[in-house]
């Protein structure tokens, strides 16, 4: 029950994009078509869940016992994430070429998605245990994909609307995201 609540809270109440404003670059970049946003969402769920698991274990069993966690955490985590993304790419290419070609260009982009490093650092700040961390990572990533798909749906419709000249492109996307974030505030105190 506790874990179900954690998932609901990470997807709706503390949505990574709309409440914590993390992962905005891919959110603005890849949310113009529903099909590509689903691909990006799936890739992010995959990477965040594994990255959270591995960085948690490295922090717990290597960095903390050696008292290195204060000044090597950022460096080690970002390298682990970069290596992991590369590894996932290679493994997927071998094991499931169809999934690989579907995710294709989105995989290398994930290294610079600050949501991945953000989640890895947040679970340690919040002092979660292993299972809680992985559930938190998974829920956050699903919330990210959810936000991406909603936004893509709106942006596909937005192309048909007549937008004032100065508002075209990024400004209207940001204002739309703001209104969506306002809607997501309605979920506050749900859990």
């Amino acid at each position: 029950m506790e874990y179900i609540l954690l998932i609901i809270s990470t997807i709706l109440v503390n949505n990574i994009v709309f409440a914590q404003t993390l992962g905005i670059c891919p959110f603005l970049g890849v949310s113009s078509k529903i099909s590509s946003s689903v691909g990006m969402g799936a890739a992010v769920v995959f990477v965040i869940t594994i990255a959270t698991l591995i960085t948690f274990l490295i922090n717990q069993y290597i960095l903390v016992p050696l008292h290195l966690d204060a000044f090597l955490q950022t460096l080690v985590f970002i390298l682990v994430i970069a290596a992991l993304v590369q590894m996932v790419e290679i493994i997927l290419k071998k094991v499931s070429p169809s999934l690989y070609s579907a995710l294709g260009i989105f995989l290398p982009l994930i290294t610079t998605n600050c949501a991945v490093l953000g989640v890895a650092l947040l679970v340690i700040q919040k002092e979660y245990n292993l299972l809680e961390s992985v559930v938190y990572g998974f829920g956050t990533a699903v919330g990210f994909g959810f936000a991406l798909v909603i936004m893509a749906g709106i942006r596909e419709q937005l192309e048909l609307a007549s937008v004032p000249k100065g508002m075209k492109g990024n400004p209207i996307t940001l204002v739309t995201a703001g209104i969506l974030a306002l809607a997501f505030m309605g979920f506050a105190n749900l859990v």
Binding site: I24, C25, T74, L79, T112, K165, P171, I172
Partner: protein
């Protein structure tokens, strides 16, 4: 003489013409997340400028040593090192700022502006111009963050750099995430509008 003008252009391009925030739309996460007050925006901007300038300088010095194929991981290691330095410095000397910026200080490492300048500028130019480029871009980012923070703080809390000028609360939604998206959206629209009129 011409070299001096070039350095000035190199420095000033980050302020408005190629402002990382308003025209390139880079580094959005810290831009939206920490600008709930002008002070936070200024602090974040200066921390990023520090990392940007020093990593630009070091990468420019090492550019002939770094093999082309593994340059991105090398850049990330350099940037992560400076980010850790700035993180520890802020925690040590300005604990209040560290508390309000939280996880966003270590996240400077994935700020696209820093890696973007390393790849686009520092890996191709000399040390001097790379430092100038880092300072200019960092200052442009700082100014953008401070302006955004000032607007949001004035609307959301009714204060200016922490000094209250109205009684009671402001429109609280402007300090929260929705306000961040909307203020930035309208600010970029205003810049589009003004620069569109000039042409």
């Amino acid at each position: 003489m011409s070299a001096k003008i070039n350095q000035w252009q190199n420095f000033s391009k980050g302020l408005l013409k190629e402002s990382p925030t308003f025209s390139l739309i880079l580094g959005m996460c810290p831009t939206l997340a920490v600008t709930s007050s002008a002070q936070n925006g200024l602090g974040m901007g200066l921390a990023t400028t520090f990392v940007l300038t020093l990593s630009n300088a070091l990468i420019s010095m090492l550019k002939s040593q770094i093999p082309d194929k593994v340059r991105i991981p090398c850049f990330i290691v350099v940037i992560a090192a400076f980010t850790t330095i700035v993180d520890l410095l802020i925690q040590g000397y300005v604990p209040a700022l560290a508390a309000s910026l939280g996880v966003f200080i270590p996240l400077i490492v994935v700020n696209c502006i820093v890696l973007g300048r390393a790849e686009a500028f520092a890996s191709k130019n000399g040390v001097g111009s790379s430092i100038v480029d880092g300072l200019g871009m960092g200052l442009g980012f700082t100014i953008a963050l401070t302006i955004l923070g000032m607007i949001r703080e004035a609307l959301g809390a009714g204060s200016f750099f922490g000094n209250k000028f109205i009684d009671g609360d402001g429109i609280i939604v402007f300090i929260l995430a929705p306000g961040a998206f909307m203020v930035l959206g309208f600010l970029i629209a205003l810049i589009h509008y003004v620069s569109g009129k000039k042409h």
